[in-house]
């Protein structure tokens, strides 16, 4: 393999269980976001735009969609002769085989891949954040500060600090302590899950961590505290700009709505830092006579005959005449039949919302689909590849899961079909 100065490793193997049915068949990084994109487009495009051309994508949970999506890396200009995008699944060795046990173990298991590139630095990224960031600038700071590791941090409002992994720092932003979700935070610098390590240092730490049977093999929980204990120099790199963890239904919904309410923050129109994605090859979208489209984001292949307000539609969504879609996120290929009403719904790939269905935050009622663990703020989530029965009523905070056993009288799923 060609030698390179820096290798990026994207941790994309997690299930993302808090996204409920949205990640039943696909890994979280492959979940559609923001009309045209998948979540993983953001770290991949950031790498390409930062000039990092060797990118390992660690996949494990439901890898099919993610692997076919990343493919040879062509959409991100990562089909390189020297380097490029590599899908790195867990593998069998002679005598044994291991799944990725944690984020650090996933990198540990691929240390040969990194060694072959002979890099000086390794960039560790996660596949579940929406942000635009120039990693080259962070690397420059890492080199200039002679750090062993540099962690990107974001100043969060103090009242939100207890939700994050917080870094306490001293002079020159040198990190003194890492505290996971502190009750009484001493600092408001939240770790963004973006790390640059000097490879020699990380390599030793990974081996040591692997030999510790009590370790969770996790970067935040184990590797960073271990390096701090060893007296290594860890420096915080302050990032300012839009950044959002889309690990929950409500944060995924919010991040989509941010594109409409605060488009200037993530600024997808910025041609100097394009977010690339695999193209669905569909014609331009069509808005029919009598349709209403306001305050929304649409892309190729959409056909709108009804009303779409304050919503984010992925490619090839059809909204039929008389249907109303409000404050919703519709993933590729969704059809909303005539007269249906959706409010604050997230609908998975290719699902057909039957005629006259009423679903969402403003709908009241009792049903076994209500799921307070996954859904909040009234958001309704609907699995992909379903036909929702005509005139079904789906009240606030429901998760429509075809595997949920419900009384036939309460069932809203008419049909389940395979989504390619």
């Amino acid at each position: 393999m060609a030698k390179t100065d820096v290798v990026a490793m994207i941790l994309a193997g997690g299930q993302g269980a808090r996204l409920g049915v949205l990640t039943k068949y696909i890994a979280k990084p492959a979940v559609p976001f923001g009309s045209r994109y998948r979540i993983i487009d953001f770290p991949l495009s950031n790498c390409a735009n930062s000039g990092i051309e060797t990118v390992g994508v660690l996949s494990q949970y439901q890898p099919l969609a993610l692997n076919t999506y990343v493919g040879n890396g062509h959409p991100w200009d990562l089909d390189r002769n020297n380097g490029g995008a590599y899908i790195l699944p867990p593998y069998q060795r002679s005598g044994r085989s291991d799944w990725y046990k944690g984020t650090a173990n996933a990198i540990y298991q691929n240390k040969d891949f990194i060694d072959d590139c002979e890099p000086q630095y390794v960039l560790i990224l996660s596949g579940d954040h929406i942000y635009k960031m120039n990693y080259a600038r962070m690397l420059r700071d890492h080199i200039q500060s002679h750090a062993d590791a540099t962690l990107a941090v974001l100043e969060v409002p103090w009242e939100e600090a207890p939700r994050f992994g917080i870094l306490n720092t001293g002079a020159d932003d040198v990190i003194s302590e890492f505290v996971e979700k502190p009750k009484n935070p001493e600092s408001n610098l939240a770790s963004m899950g973006v790390y640059i390590f000097t490879w020699d240092v990380l390599r030793k730490a990974l081996i040591e961590d692997e030999n510790d049977p009590s370790s969770n093999n996790d970067f935040g929980k184990n590797i960073v505290p271990m390096l701090l204990k060893q007296g290594k120099k860890l420096v915080a790199y302050r990032f300012s700009g839009y950044w959002k963890d889309v690990g929950t239904i409500s944060s995924l919904w919010e991040a989509n709505m941010d594109l409409l309410d605060r488009p200037e923050e993530i600024n997808l129109m910025d041609r100097s830092w394009r977010i690339y994605s695999r193209n669905p090859v569909k014609p331009s979208h069509y808005i029919a006579d009598g349709a209403v489209v306001r305050n929304s984001a649409l892309t190729d292949g959409c056909q709108i005959f009804g009303t779409v307000e304050h919503s984010v539609l992925s490619n090839s969504v059809t909204v039929e005449r008389g249907a109303v879609v409000k404050d919703s996120v519709l993933m590729p290929g969704v059809t909303v039949r005539a007269g249906a009403y959706l409010n604050k719904c997230i609908v998975g790939f290719n699902t057909i919302i039957g005629e006259g269905v009423r679903a969402g935050a403003t709908i009241e009622g009792k049903t076994p689909y209500i799921n307070g663990k996954i859904c909040s703020e009234g958001i309704v989530v609907i699995e992909r590849g379903l036909k929702i029965s005509d005139h079904a009523v789906i009240p606030a905070n429901c998760q429509v899961d075809s595997d949920l056993e419900v009384d036939p009288a309460e069932n809203v799923v008419e049909e389940v079909f395979r989504v390619v």
């Binding site: 977010i275 994605s277 331009s284 069509y286 029919a288 306001r294 984001a297």
Partner: protein, 369 residues
């Protein structure tokens, strides 16, 4: 799908002018249908037929075409063997005085180096979504030298048209260009198939005779010596013959049936990927019966129109019956009706432009109004 054929697409057509639109670029590179260029349709048809080797013949102004086609990756034609080849005019500095023969010599080399049994040659002014497998198969079975596609609705698209008269067996017995009177409504689609070996012979003969130009109809006019079979195509075809038909064909795409036939038959039309952001509609937008593309920002009113990628329509501006190409900026308080705006043009605040449905106003590439 397997097909033993190579494709040749003629990017220019000296009988067709789209005025301002074809001034800065080859006919094939004129934007059409939202996110596409004219050539995307024919090129996708060939790719969807299983053709893996396509040569694009250009005469001049081919920079924008080359930008668009690149390596052919968007059509899956970036291949080790064959793939996409752009064939610019072949200039041999040693030869003097026999210019036309030089042009053909380049094509001759390209066709000779191919290994396919058949060659499909097409003009690029026809917009259709089809595959050529049946066309080639019927040609093979018929034993004809050449098969040429036609349909019967060409005359409604205005001139220029080649009209065929055929004998009882369906072979061409006469070919007329824009005839005043005709006994036939068979209008050429400018698409032919023939054996590659025969094509080589024909090109060699053209060179030897010093003939002026190579093209589909330069071959079909040899109906006296070749057995030329007329093959009727019954699907939807939009013809781009002049600015009026360009405009009308664009407006026809607003029809649900036309879009279904052209875009949703399961055979995708490929084009260069631009990675624009999704289109954003503001609170103040009203849009109806229109096609819009990624990267558009709509704050005004758009009706019966076609917007390409990256178009901005500012507040209180009204767009009606317009075709607006890539990255055009329409400022506030404008009113445009029956206007074609070429790429990168800018309409300053408060401008009112009204064309006629049959004679749209055309604003050239990069113009500031």
């Amino acid at each position: 799908m397997f097909i033993d054929a190579m494709g040749l697409i003629l990017a220019d057509n000296n009988k067709i002018s789209l005025g301002e639109l074809s001034k800065p670029r080859a006919l094939a590179a004129v934007p059409f249908g939202g996110r596409y260029r004219i050539i995307d349709y024919m090129l996708s048809d060939m790719v969807n037929s299983g053709i893996k080797s396509v040569g694009i013949l250009t005469l001049n102004k081919y920079k924008s075409l080359m930008d668009h086609l690149g390596t052919g990756a968007s059509w899956d034609l970036d291949r080790k063997t064959f793939g996409l080849h752009i064939l610019p005019p072949y200039v041999n500095s040693e030869a003097t005085g026999v210019e036309d023969a030089e042009e053909l010599a380049g094509i001759l080399d390209y066709v000779r180096s191919n290994r396919s049994a058949y060659a499909i040659i097409a003009n690029s002014n026809m917009i259709l979504n089809t595959t050529f497998n049946d066309f080639v198969e019927k040609h093979e079975q018929s034993g004809a030298d050449v098969s040429v596609m036609y349909n019967r609705d060409g005359t409604k698209y205005g001139i220029p048209n080649y009209i065929f008269d055929v004998d009882r067996k369906g072979y061409v017995k006469d070919m007329l260009f824009n005839p005043q009177k005709t006994t036939s409504n068979r209008c050429s689609l400018g698409i032919i198939v023939l054996r590659r070996e025969l094509l080589l012979d024909l090109i060699a003969e053209m060179i030897a005779r010093g003939e002026r130009s190579f093209g589909v109809h330069a071959i079909t006019k040899k109906y006296d010596t070749l057995r030329i079979r007329a093959h009727e195509y019954k699907g939807l075809v939009l013809r781009i013959n002049n600015v009026q038909t360009y405009f009308n064909s664009s407006m026809m795409l607003l029809d649900d049936k036309v879009r279904a036939d052209l875009f949703w038959k399961g055979m995708p039309i490929y084009t260069k990927v631009k990675d624009e952001a999704p289109a954003l509609y503001s609170d103040s937008s009203t849009v109806s019966n229109s096609i819009l593309s990624d990267g558009c920002r709509i704050m005004g009113s758009v009706t019966n129109s076609m917007l390409f990628r990256g178009v901005t329509i500012s507040k209180n501006s009204k767009i009606h019956n317009c075709v607006i190409m890539q990255d055009v900026h329409v400022s506030e308080n404008c009113e445009l009706e029956n206007v074609i705006l070429d790429k990168n043009s800018v309409i300053r605040p408060g401008i009112k432009l009204v064309g006629h449905r049959d004679f749209p106003v055309v604003i050239g590439k990069g113009a500031i109004v």
